[in-house]
Amino acid sequence: MSVPMVHARGVRKHFGHLEVLKGIDLDVQPGEVVVILGPSGSGKSTFLRCVNHLETVDGGAIFVDGELIGFEASGGKVRHLRKREITRQRREIGMVFQQFNLFPHFTVLQNVMEAPVGVRGAPREQARERAHALLRRVGLEDKAGSYPRQLSGGQQQRVAIARALAMRPKLMLFDEPTSALDPELVGEVLATMKGLAEDGLTMIVVTHEIGFAREVADRVVFMDGGVVVEAGTPADVLDNPSSPRTQAFLSRVL
């Protein structure tokens, strides 16, 4: 088997005295779509933020494409990476946030072009062409000149997806991408994400959308209380959950 895209072993994280992650093991294969479900406070978002080192893990380790995230191990010693190195690692990992976090002072096009031009040093014209292509892909080419606040929530989130894709990430992390949206706008964002999954992008999605998990996920992971309670195919976890905690959760959200 090839190197997993994500390899997490015994990941622990606490905020003060609150232990949020109590040893998470998770492997994600290249091209796989993994959906993480779980009640609020189960640690699923925190785990996602550990994968691109927005949160520093306190124990265990996370590898992305064979590279240890946030740390450096050599000669039997482990050290924190320098900021510059962490920044380099993050370029390979796209992230989409619950609150979109588009740059409000940039137009839609500038939002998508900023990182390729400023971080990767791509030529402006080339980046512009690619940005237009990505906006076309998320169905927003006509909004290139608008500012984010002139768009609906669903449109903003699709721009955020295009912005993340512009860096050609190996892995995409989605942190509750539809939780801040009005119900009628959820569908357009999920459809965009489904398109990415069909194109073979490796994705980890934290969501409450059971329908999306059933339809798109290769594997569903159920987290509660900072541990992975169960994981398996959507059919296994969603239709025949073995743990009573999963059963209780599903009966509440379905």
Partner: protein, 306 residues
Amino acid sequence: MKELPEIDVAGAARTRHPLRWVASLVLLVLAAQLVSLLVTNPNFQWDVVGRYVNAQIIGQGIMTTLLLTVIAMFVGVVLGVLLAVGRISENPVARAACGLYVWFFRGTPVLVQLVLWYNLSYLLPEISFGIPFGPEFVSADTNVLITPLLAAILGLGLNEGAYMAEIIRGGLMSVDPGQTEAASALGMSGARTFRRIVLPQAMRFIIPPTGSQVISMLKATSLVSVIALADLLYTVQSIYNRTFQTIPLLIVACVWYLVITSILYVGQSFIERHYARGATRNQPQGFWSFVTSFRRRPMPTPEVPS
């Protein structure tokens, strides 16, 4: 059941506001009195005002005032950015040092600071550069080095830095932390995130109080008359000390302060428009579209390159 009447509110009469009429009348009478006082009272000596308002020596004073305002503000803003970054940095020593600086320079009167810099030679007769506690490479007599102009720049600029630091820090803290997270997730460096993402958004909150600071600075420069620097106020003082036309010459100074303040105010509103890009759903009017709106034919808004 009772039938409801058919009514259209489109032609409804307006509510009357008799108190507004009374207040307006009182204000108009007061304004008329003020104008009559200004015109009929010979003690204002408007002819003297008219004679001095364009005088060359006044112009030189204005130039000194403007020069001092621009340089001291520049020092203040640069220092303010550094201090603000220091105060929100992760380095506890930098945080404490920048906090102490702000505490001291905001906590003592700027007049005292000006006099202190002017009289620095009492404390340090000689200023030299070299390795700390080691050999010296260059040294100079403080009295030669610290001219009145330099003392004024140091006094006003270092004091301004403390105020600007707090204004800039407030602006930086008003930017949603999600912006920094999004930039980090895209692999942007800290410096680039600050320059491209955080600072431009913070500017919306930094510009209005900074405009007030510029106007304060313009007037604070008049304090340098205590160290014999010939700014606008010092110049009119030196004239009325000779001619005893105190009131008309002070009016001349006030007229010029008001003129400069008005120009600054207009400039500020254009800078605010620039940094309001994307802040509201309506496109803010840019400088050029505002200028071209005076023409008859409509002009397309030029796209501002990023």
